[in-house]
């Protein structure tokens, strides 16, 4: 192929890819659940952004009385130190989401790399990689999380790292299976015959087809990550000085929020997690349904 042909090809391809993407977005917006999911998640992101700039109080300022129910000056009341719960929630949303997305991205990168390499190249590489995956999958997750978090430095980075380590194996299995099935398809064989190198084939042909699956899994990884991080924080693991949904609940439990009936402190972080979960669920399901080719009905 001349370089001019290649240019034309890549222009055609990228424009059609952009078009396909735009078209896909349109369909997604028209999908009821998909739209709801997008709105929910966008709202949370918005809250996070608002938190950074417009939080009413510094979350660590303790000027108010402790355990105050919601009032005009403190819309969500105060916690055990008199800190403003609303500010904690606004800023905490950002931190929690950031953690979730980071985990999703990190797990996705590792998972996709491992999965595609194992699936595409097969043989010994595949065997070794899948053995590792199997072992990681068999060890029960939560205890492993606890033990790793207990021994490694207590920072958010550790939490993200540890949770990613536990999340990528499952994804890599899924990706590997998809890669295997894609490998058989005609156009891959055609590309192979035309002498393209493995990596080129992978990036041009395989990965674009994996994008829906990757995205869907990434969404659920993000949710899982948020929930898991909250759980770890609740257990006293991870960075306890961070402001996020999990630490809010940790302090609630550690400082006997129950005794003070402090529901205003208990509800927001949990609702945040639930909202994110539902939003992600809707969005993920919508993308899944839309990415399925039309099936013929049973006769």
């Amino acid at each position: 192929m001349t370089s001019r042909d290649e240019d034309i090809n890549s222009i055609l391809k990228s424009s059609s890819q952009i078009n396909r993407f735009k078209d896909f977005l349109k369909r997604l917006i028209h999908h009821r659940k998909g739209l709801a999911g997008i709105i929910i998640i966008a709202s949370l992101v918005l809250i996070a952004i608002i938190g950074i700039f417009f939080a009413p109080y510094n979350p660590f300022s303790t000027n108010a009385a402790a355990f105050q129910p919601p009032s005009k000056s403190h819309i969500l009341g105060t916690d055990y130190l008199g800190e403003d719960v609303l500010s904690w929630f606004l800023i905490g949303t950002g931190t929690s989401l950031m953690v979730g997305f980071s985990i999703a991205v990190l797990s996705a990168i590792i998972g996709v790399l491992v999965g595609v390499i194992a699936g595409y190249f097969g043989g010994q590489v595949d065997n070794v990689l899948m053995r590792v995956v199997d072992i990681l999958l068999v060890i029960p997750g939560f205890p492993l999380l606890v033990i790793l978090s207990a021994f490694l430095p207590p920072t958010l980075e550790t939490t993200i790292f540890v949770l990613s380590i536990l999340s990528w194996p499952f994804l890599s299995r899924v990706i590997r299976a998809q890669t295997l099935s894609l490998k058989q398809r005609q156009y891959i064989l055609a590309s192979k015959l035309s002498g393209l190198s493995g990596f080129k084939i992978i990036s041009r042909d395989i990965i674009p087809n994996l994008i829906p699956i990757i995205f869907i899994n990434a969404i659920f990884l993000a949710v899982g990550g948020v929930v898991a991080q909250a759980g770890l924080a609740f257990f006293g693991l991870g960075d306890l000085r961070s402001v996020n949904w999990g630490t809010m609940l940790y302090w609630f439990e550690a400082e006997d929020g129950i005794v003070f009936n402090a529901w205003w402190w208990l509800l927001p972080p949990g609702l945040g997690i639930v909202a994110f979960g539902i939003g992600a669920n809707f969005l993920g399901n919508a993308v899944y349904e839309l990415s399925q080719p039309l099936r013929s009905g049973k006769q």
């Binding site: 205890p143 439990e253 809707f282």
Partner: protein, 332 residues
């Protein structure tokens, strides 16, 4: 169908996993700076000890000799069930602590799992059979329920039912613990009553978050099965609806559910730990929490090992049950 070969392979696999878990257990604490034996002595005896004591504790903690010697010694003691002494509860051994606490966790896990599966299967089967209204409601319900973090739900229940709701001057449910202080342990009615009363909220939390998954799975499976050819034949044979439901639909639909029980175990363990913490329920989950707070490394490792073993054994049991139920399965 179960073959001897399958059992052998599975046991080998289990042992491999335990081995890896144990090795991890061995390596991790040794990556943390500091001499654990010293830590114990300082914590417990406020710095007043003699060098001999140090040597003894180091021996108990397996810190003497080369790394390899320690490793071998460690593996050896594990096989004998000796998981070392706990820092926090010194001189109680980890094994002792775990043995007293583990039954409570198993009680929660087992009961919650069984009830969740039963409820889930019944609802799912009904929903798949009927379709229509109950169906979409179930799906929405499940999405909502599975997004709930265990511990948050537990806290809410605790807040509402054990603290806020007061009927006739009495709280509806106890706030914490496995049984009341003023009740005598043993097989008497009051004790059992107390245990059940205290277990109610933790169990409800676990069950509510677990059963929707099963219900949804069962429902989907039933829908698939209803489309199968052998269902048509069953109808053509003039079999009663009950027979068809039991022998043809449910029996087939239960299979994927059984496999997912293994997966559910992994997640319900995490849930149980969190719930224990909320309710101060004296299982190994709560103990783990305490151990983390006081950095009691031997205890943390011991619990990790035990829990890993439990989950693996549970999975194995489920696999066997599945192989027994599905005649088509040829286990590799």
């Amino acid at each position: 169908m179960i073959t001897l070969r399958y059992i052998v392979r599975r046991v080998a696999y289990m042992l491999l996993t335990i081995y890896i878990a144990a090795t991890l257990d061995f390596l991790l604490p040794r990556m943390v700076p500091g001499n654990p034996a010293l830590i114990i002595l300082i914590t417990k005896y406020a710095g007043e000890f003699n060098p001999n004591q140090l040597k003894i504790i180091e021996g108990e903690l397996n810190l003497r000799g080369t790394l390899w010697q320690q490793y071998v010694g460690y593996l050896g003691s594990i096989i004998h069930g000796n998981l070392g002494p706990s820092y926090y509860y010194y001189p109680e051994s980890v094994t002792q602590i775990i043995i007293t606490r583990l039954p409570w966790t198993l009680f929660l896990l087992g009961t919650a799992m069984i009830i969740s599966v039963v409820i889930g299967v019944i609802i799912g089967s009904y929903s798949g059979w009927k379709r229509g209204y109950s169906d979409s409601f179930l799906q929405a319900f499940s999405i909502g329920l599975t997004s709930l973090p265990y511990f948050w739900l537990a806290l809410i229940f605790q807040l509402v039912f054990a603290v806020m709701l007061v009927i006739n001057g009495q709280h509806l449910f106890p706030v914490a613990q496995a049984y009341s202080i003023n009740v005598h342990q043993g097989f008497n009615l009051r004790f059992i009553e107390s245990v059940l009363h205290h277990a109610a909220l933790p169990l409800i939390t676990l069950i509510i978050t677990t059963f929707p998954g099963f219900a949804l799975l069962m429902r989907n499976t039933v829908v698939t099965v209803l489309d199968e050819d052998y269902l048509v034949l069953a109808k053509a044979k003039g079999l009663s609806i009950n027979t068809i439901r039991k022998r043809y639909v449910n029996k087939n639909a239960m299979l994927p559910v059984s496999t997912s029980i293994a997966l559910a175990f992994a997640s319900i363990v995490g849930g149980a730990f969190l719930v224990e913490e909320v309710f101060s329920y004296p299982g190994i989950g709560y103990t783990l929490f305490t151990a983390v707070t006081v950095s009691d490394y031997p205890l943390i490792e011991g619990i990790f090992l035990v829990i890993t073993l439990t989950v693996i054994l549970a999975n194995f049991a489920v696999d066997l049950i599945y192989a027994y139920l599905d005649p088509r399965v040829v286990l590799k």
